[in-house]
């Protein structure tokens, strides 16, 4: 029986790829790890992955309102 899964082709920098690989270890969504900048992932997880990446990037961005004074 053939099973079809909708996939998304992702291009990213090596750092983002590491983040994705790490997320993948919690819940599998990567269908094929192509090379250091390309991945093929399950489309149903796309939104979750995007959110997780955004959160990480936000955490590493300075907000002017963080300033105490």
């Amino acid at each position: 029986m053939v099973k079809a899964v909708k996939g998304t082709f992702i291009e990213c920098d090596p750092a983002a790829r590491e983040v994705l690989l790490r997320l993948n270890s919690e819940e599998k969504f990567i269908i094929e790890d192509l090379d250091s900048t390309h991945l093929f992932i399950n489309s149903t997880h796309l939104e979750r992955v995007q959110r997780a990446l955004d959160e990480l990037m936000d955490a590493n961005t300075y907000k002017a309102s963080n300033l105490p004074s």
Binding site: P14, A15, L21, T61, Y62, K63
Partner: protein, 830 residues
Amino acid sequence: MSKRELSASSAAGEDGRKRARGGEENESESGGAVPGNGSSASEAEAEAEYDSQEELKSDGEDADGVAGVAGDGSGDLLSEHDYSWMRLKPDHESRPLWICPRTKHIILEAFSPIAEQAIDFLIAISEPVSRPTHIHEYKLTQFSLHAAVSVGLSTTDIIEVLNRLSKMAVPPDVTSFITQCTRSYGKVKVVIKQNRLFIESGHPGILQTLLRDPVIAQARVFPDADTDGTVSKDGIITQRVPQMGDITIAGTQKPGDKEKAAASAKDIAATAAKAEAGGDLDDAVAEILDKEDEDEDDAEGTVHSFEIHRSKYEDVRKRCNEIDYPMIEEYDFRNDRKNPDLDIDLKPVTTIRSYQEISLSKMFSNGRARSGIIVLPCGAGKTLVGITAACTIRKSVLCLCTSSVSVMQWKQQFLRWSTIKEEQIAIFTSDTKMRFQGDAGLVITTFSMVSNQRKLSAESKKMLEFLSSIEWGLMLLDEVHVTPANMFRSVVSRIPAHSKLGLTATLVREDNKIDDLNFLIGPKLYEANWMDLANKGHIATVQCAEVWCDMTPEFYKAYLEEASKKRLLIYVMNPNKFRACQYLIRFHEERGDKIIVFVDNVYSLKAYAITLGKPFIYGATSQSERMRILDDFQHNPAVRTIFLSKVGDTSLDLPEATCLIQVSSHYGSRRQEAQRLGRILRASRRNDEGFNAFFYSLVSKDTQEMVYSTKRQQFLIDQGYSFKVITHLEGIEDCRDLVYGDLESQKKLLHTVKMASEADAALESKATDGARAGSGGAAAVRRGAGSLKGLSGASNMAYMETSGSGRRAARREPVEHHPLFKRQFYNNKK
């Protein structure tokens, strides 16, 4: 960036004058351009305003004609900051100011043709907040307005000139704020007499109002027989003849009341309340204020005062500010005949620079010394300002600095610039305890010596008693931003000084304690414009750059996996950073620059310096070795680069250094960034044509370091510096021989980093570097006897049975008791 801002501006109203805060979060990302620090709403607005104006210049309009782009939910953000009700004056384009009615911030177009005059005026009435190239931000505060009044500006002057410069009519909020701050200023004074604090006023009504306040009433000390004599003596602060006014006497001079003085604080408050009730209380506050002119005439010749507890002084001062009777702490040193004069003057060859003169004129504006803080960049001659102040007051001076090294520096500077004799200078550190000869003199000591109350040698104790017995004409506080720390607060209140002058380059702290300085020392009197000084050649022009280094995939993987402490080590040891550092060193060495590399973390400091074969100094380096390395750096042309840990942040004078690379730093400390920049501001080659000093900050991309790095820059950005972001170093691939070029060596590096302990990842603790900088390095290695068990960490282990049925069960239900305890046990059980 532009899109979001435009959308925000269109939502803000048709004149586009007011911006949503939407622009704010984008600013940090804009990196190199003109990022504002966005410390407040209005500033963000100003920056957004400016940016969008720039972008729209091609439209030949200012923000008025922004085309509508769908708003991005900025409506709720606007509610507090919607000033679209304010109307522009028809000729607003030729006027350079905006005033924010809510926060009292003033935004100035620094590119306006009349900006220079406007800046002169704004400096007099407000405090500078941020001064990038094109838009400046100032803030009206109580203190700045007080300063304005004391230099002779009247309330109407201030409002009128503001109105003339402003793009719209001065908002009523601002007008009333200015009136409120300026009218009650100068009515209440603090006077130190015989080492006791008195609150003095020409208007008995005001003192009564003050005493009605519970906080102040509690701090009050009732005069005893001795006091009466001294208080009625000639006044010290004023020329008038102080008499025992109603206030001091009211209800307290009768013998019966003397005992009450010894009663508890609550009783005192009650007494005070009674005394007031007896006195003439009908004068309402408003009336007093209305009648103040007449009062002044009536009060001529009389000064009324009451004494307060020294320990409560800070509270009282805070309280007085809250209830709008700010106390002035001015010292009429010329008419002070009681305290002995100190024979000190500037040497004839000493010349002070114009900005130093301006800063001091703020302090001595009306012929009296006012307490406060002067902010000058590193290397701009703070010491000389302090010395000149001492020479102006010519009374005993107490000078406090941060370390014993700077104690010696201050002494040298005093001898170099002024005519003070060596025997008049006393040094009080843990090593030397001297006293000056004669009645008046100069004592130089450290904050920690005077604030440390425990663990004092008998000699130090005597010295401290001596310090608090003298009435100091001037207390100089070097690096004054350290004083809000709790341990130092007591110093300021314990030692009596007629005036205090704080000096610093960086009036920022990561906690909010910087505001406390207003009460501890005084308001900010003057803040130099760094860019101005750089343009005039007093400090070096610096090119600042932030270099983004990609994390290698292996390191980033490790970074994601590690706990937070070790993350630091991983992003510092990032091989790409390593390579960037090596590349920059090589590049600048070839240009003939002398380079300082700062690495905060000792483990990576060693790794970097040893790998790259450069000398390094950190907390545990012995004094003699330090001297040798620094000497080499200054005089040996072969040594062009040194690595320093945090110990090099301050009090290292290396005029040869022209380039600075920062590899790792103390998280988000803005102060550290500015201080490090200070190391190259005094570059001796600064006056060469076209000379630039370089400041690089290496940052690992996609890590926490990015956040810290941006935060650290905020202070310098406020001073007008801009950071270029370099994402790729030109020509780095051509250098084949850089370290960690291949995957194999990178993996090896990662392995060693992973093996490093958590302790290695921690930053060098401040305590060690402070202590060692002074005393010359304690031994880092300790030798002693120890058992194998102890060394392996087993000495604290004990054998323990943990299975449930064992000990715990047994404790609950003892099988058999000794007959002696049997009854006791069963009785308890029932």
